[in-house]
Amino acid sequence: MTLLEINNLSKHFRSGGRDVTALDGVSLTLDPGQTLGLAGASGSGKSTLARIVMRLLPSDGGSIRFAGEDWLALSGKDLRRRRAKIQMVFQDVLGAFNPRATVGSVLDDPLRIHEIVPKSDRPRKIAELLDRVGLQANLADRSIRDVSGGQRQRIAIARAIATDPALIVLDEAVSALDVSIRGKVLELLVELQRERDIAYLFVSHDLAVLRAVSHRITVMDGGRLVETGPARQVIGNPQSTAARALVSAVPRLRIQTPQGHSHEP
C-alpha cells in the first residue's frame, strides 16, 4: 500500500508584488520503508514541498493522502495526534532545538506530548533511544549546545524516531556534517529504515548523498517535478536539463593511481 500520495499540489507566494509559483502540479507517491530522494537546486521548491507535507505551510491546491487519510483536511486534535507519524530532521540542528534544552529534555518532549510511554518509563526510553542512535545514555544530562555537530544530528534522529513515525522528512539532514561523520549517519538512517520500515522523503541538492540512500529519485525544477525514477536510472541516464545539471555538478574525486587508472569519468 502507498504510504504517501501527493496529487497536483500547488503553492504560490507573493514576493515584492510579484506572484511566485513555488509548486506547480506536483504529484508523487512513496511506499512504506522506501526512500524517495527529492533533488533540486536552490529555489526549486523542494523545501516548500517538505514544509507542506509537514503541515508547516498551507497549500493552495491539490491533495495529500497519508496512511489512507486526507492529510490536508486534518486539523486540531486529529492533526496533533497523527503528527507523531510524520517527523522531520533539519540541516541546522542547533537551530532546530531549544538552545537551553538538555539532550534528555529534547527526547522527553515527543514522548510526553504524544504520550508514547508513561512518565516513570521515560528515562529508560530516552536511554534506549540514545543507545539506538549510537550515543551514550549519560549524554542525557548535557546541554544540547555542549555536544558535537555529529552527536546533535544523531539526537535529532533519536527525537524523530521517538514517536515511531511511518515517514521522516529529511531536509538536507547530513549537509552540514563533516564527511568523516556523514557516512556513519547515513548508515544509521538506512539501518533504522530496515528495522522499523520507515519511509524517508530525503531532500537534498547533493545527488551523491541521495544516490547512497534513495530507492527512487525525483528532480525538481521551478516548482515542478521534471523527472522521477529508480535512483540508478536518474543518475545514470538523466533526461531533464535540471537532472543533467545536478549530475554534472557533483564534484568528482580526481585521482591518478600509479596504474594509470583514473576515477575521473
Binding site: 564527511v179 568523516s180 557516512g183 534513495s214 564534484p251
Partner: protein
C-alpha cells in the same frame, strides 16, 4: 615557481582559549599556484586563512613566523582579496552593489567614483553577472545567493590583488551554483595569474583544480604536497579516511535498488 610565503612553526591561540586553533604549522605557499587547504570543522583551516589575510581578532596570540617574499605582508584589500563563505554577511545590506564593488578600486587604485563605478561594472561583467549596469544599482537582498557570491568575488578582485583567499566560498551554495563559481574562480585566477588559496572541506572539489593540497586536522598540518601525488599515495591515515569518506555518484549505494 617562486615562493610567495614561508610559514614556519606557526601557532595561533585565540583570546581566552586554552588550546591553540593552529599548532606548529610549517608550510610553503608558491606564487601563482593554487593551494587547497582541506579540513573538517575545527581543523584550523579558516584560522590559517585569517592569519594570512591579517584578519585575526585583537589579542590573538601568535608564535612562529610568516615570511612573505618581498618582506612586508600583503595589504588586505589591495594585495590580497578575501571571499567568505556567506555572501549575505560579507556584503553591506544598505549599500548598492556598485558602491561595494567600486570601494576597493577607489581606495586602492586611486580612482574617482565615476571611474571606480566603471571598473565595478567591468568586474561584474567579468564574474558573469547579467545586466551588470542594472545590478550596480541593486542592493544585496535583491540578488540570489549565487549572484551575491559573484558580487563578493568581484569586490575582492576590484583592486587587482595578486592573492585571492576563498574561505569555503562555495559551501553555502547548491552544487550547480558551486560548480559555476569554481569554474569562474578557475578562469579569473588563470587570467590574472593570481595565487589562489582555496579553503574547503571537500577533497573532491579541491582535487579538480588545486595544484597543491594541504590537509589539516585538529589545528595541525597532516600532510601537504602536489595534488596528484598526494591524493594517489597519501602518507597519512587521516588523508585516506577523507578519501574513503568521499561520496560521489560511483560510490556503492547503501540500499537495494527499487524494483520498478
Amino acid at each position: 615557481m617562486s615562493t610567495l610565503c614561508q610559514i614556519r612553526d606557526l601557532s595561533v591561540t585565540y583570546r581566552d582559549q586554552p588550546n591553540p586553533a593552529l599548532a606548529h604549522v610549517t608550510l610553503d605557499i608558491e606564487a601563482g599556484g593554487r593551494l587547497a587547504i582541506i579540513g573538517e570543522s575545527g581543523s584550523g583551516k579558516s584560522t590559517l586563512a585569517r592569519t594570512l589575510a591579517g584578519l585575526l581578532p585583537p589579542r590573538t596570540h601568535l608564535t612562529g613566523e610568516i615570511q612573505w617574499t618581498g618582506g612586508t605582508p600583503p595589504r588586505p584589500g589591495r594585495d590580497l582579496g578575501f571571499v567568505f563563505q556567506d555572501p549575505s554577511s560579507s556584503l553591506n545590506p544598505v549599500l548598492t552593489i556598485g558602491e561595494q564593488v567600486a570601494e576597493g578600486a577607489r581606495q586602492h587604485l586611486d580612482l574617482g567614483w565615476k571611474q571606480a563605478l566603471e571598473r565595478a561594472q567591468d568586474m561584474l561583467e567579468r564574474v558573469r553577472i547579467a545586466q551588470a549596469d542594472r545590478v550596480l544599482r541593486a542592493y544585496p537582498h535583491q540578488l540570489s545567493g549565487g549572484q551575491r557570491q559573484r558580487v563578493a568575488i568581484a569586490a575582492a578582485l576590484a583592486a587587482k590583488p595578486k592573492i585571492l583567499i576563498a574561505d569555503e566560498a562555495t559551501s553555502a551554495l547548491d552544487v550547480v551554483v558551486q560548480a559555476e563559481i569554481v569554474a569562474l574562480l578557475d578562469d579569473l585566477v588563470r587570467d590574472a595569474q593570481m595565487t589562489l588559496i582555496f579553503i574547503t572541506h571537500d577533497i573532491a572539489l579541491a582535487s579538480g583544480f588545486a595544484d597543491r593540497v594541504a590537509i589539516f586536522k585538529d589545528g595541525r598540518l597532516v600532510e601537504a604536497g602536489p595534488t596528484a601525488s598526494l591524493l594517489a599515495a597519501p602518507a597519512q591515515g587521516y588523508t585516506r579516511t577523507l578519501l574513503q569518506s568521499h561520496l560521489d555518484l560511483t560510490s556503492p549505494p547503501l540500499v537495494e535498488e527499487a524494483a520498478t
